[in-house]
């Protein structure tokens, strides 16, 4: 079973995403900011980290930086999501998929599947 770590400071969104991904058959971990995400990853390495961008404590860019700096996480796929215009983020993080909030659930599932399949490929 593939594991997805969802990171978002908005509790309602975090819980909704977790439920939907579980219904889709994924194992789901949750964290409400970057530091908590790193703690979860230390316990169980996910296949994909789906992270919000603006968060307290440790934000999305800082989390991505920490994950990329850790060799043990080199196989972990990364995906961002934000209410900020993600076109600019795609430019800053080439090759990394981003979801523009608000998004529909089908787009989310497609992107998650694509990111995980890309990792396998």
């Amino acid at each position: 079973m593939e594991t997805v770590l969802v990171v978002d400071d908005e509790q309602g969104i975090l819980e909704a995403l977790a439920d939907l991904l579980r219904e889709e058959g994924y194992r789901v971990l949750t964290a409400s900011h970057g530091r908590e995400a790193l703690e979860r990853m230390a316990e169980l390495r996910p296949d994909l980290v789906l992270t919000d961008w603006m968060m307290p404590v440790l934000d999305g860019p800082a989390l991505i930086e920490r994950i990329r700096a850790e060799p043990a996480y080199k196989d972990v796929s990364l995906m961002g999501m934000s209410a900020v215009d993600v076109a600019a983020l795609r430019h800053l993080y080439p090759g990394m998929p981003f979801l523009q909030k608000p998004f529909d659930i089908h787009a989310l599932m497609r992107q998650v599947r694509k990111a995980l399949d890309g990792k396998q490929g």
Binding site: E10, M54, P56, V57, A83, V84, P102
Partner: protein
Amino acid sequence: MSSSEQPARQDARVSTGVPGLDAVLGGGLVSSGVYIVVGEPGAGKTLFANQLCYHQGRAGARCLYVTLLAESHARMLANMRDMAFFDSALLPEGVYYVSGFRTLEEQGLPGLLELLRREVRNHNASILVLDGLVQAQEAAGSSRDFKKFIHELQVAAGLARFTALLLTSANGPAVHPEYTMVDGILELRERTQGVRSWRELQVRKFRGSATLHGVHAFRITSNGLEVFPRLESRVQRTPPPDPGAHRLHFGVPSLDALFPEGLAAGSTSLVLGPPGAGKTLLGSSLLEEGLKQGESCLYMGFYEPPNRLLGKVASAGIDLGGAMADGRLNFIWQPPSECILDVLADQLLSDVRRRNVKRVFVDGLSAMQQASPEPARINSFFAALTQELRCTGTTTLFGMETPRLFGPVLDVPMEVGPSAVAENLFFLRHVELEGRLRKLLSIFKMRDTHYDPTLREFVITSQGIEVLPPFSAAVDTLLTGLARHPGAGHF
């Protein structure tokens, strides 16, 4: 309570970016202050806070927007994207959104306070918005805990030099006892009367400087909030300039002959009359003459749109089209439904100041009166409006419709006596005489100048207005609208 009696402090101010609001606040929010913005859902609190953040972000400040149990950031930003002040380039550096709800749920007020302090520091924010203070209030174990939270936030604001806006929905009294320690309380509300509703802002408390007292209208458009300070609260206290010998005429020789010295510059006049009596043409004549004298003029109308008006006055030989085309004459046309009194005053006075307008014709004083849901306010409003116009040296003519076409009763549909509005009073009416309906003009009052009090018939031709010689001495009761020869019955 507003603190207008306190001497002003020289604190740095934070501009809100809301037109009109900084004026109400005596220059803006005081830097490092903690302010509560209270209002029911939909009152405009979130919009206001975002408008301030983007305004400050555009000026280089960093703003932190923390939500508790509020709409999602994505939904909030989706709502803001249509606003003129929104700028996606400011995200996330200039305006940063985080949620503090989970922290509040798990760690209570101490955890939330720590989050606020830390995030302000991490983002080097000078503006903090906490959207959902009522959640924090509900999470507090006691009133004392909540007061402690506010107090510690105030200390943090002073130390870290950030200005905080705490948004809360009205829950119980607008001003809770717990709020007394903050630096200011702004209340936003929507009021309804019948099917009509309007928005109001009131500064309930403000430390540090005088504010404009009372209730101020505001509106929400695609530009965000716009506040229209209550005219009476900002009226100039200085006496208007002495017009000296500067006098004005209508440019209608037979009319001007009734008061050869002319109207005093900066004076206000009122012309009363039923529909079709000639009020619009009289006002248009005053403006046309001003334009000939090289003066900027303003026509504020409520009923006839500009193209129809131009055609109407042109048929009476009054040409305003050229002046409107080249900007010497401005036409503010405001359909009377849903007008806001202070918006009308702002439109009028802004144009007067911007273009140094010297003559104004307000065609429809009744529409202005109806724009106020508070009849008791009309008297003081018009006193303030005419004072402002006098101070700018603007000569103003108000046109007001009387409801009866003709008859023995003279209705003056005003909440206040005409003298409160005008120094000069013209009266037009229809009169039935010798089987014809005629137009009658009389001057009831004219300050500081001699005038001919005789009743005159006036006619409108393709060459304009003409005032005829006095009626025959053998005709009286003209003002009743039913003239008769003495000793005879009504004609």
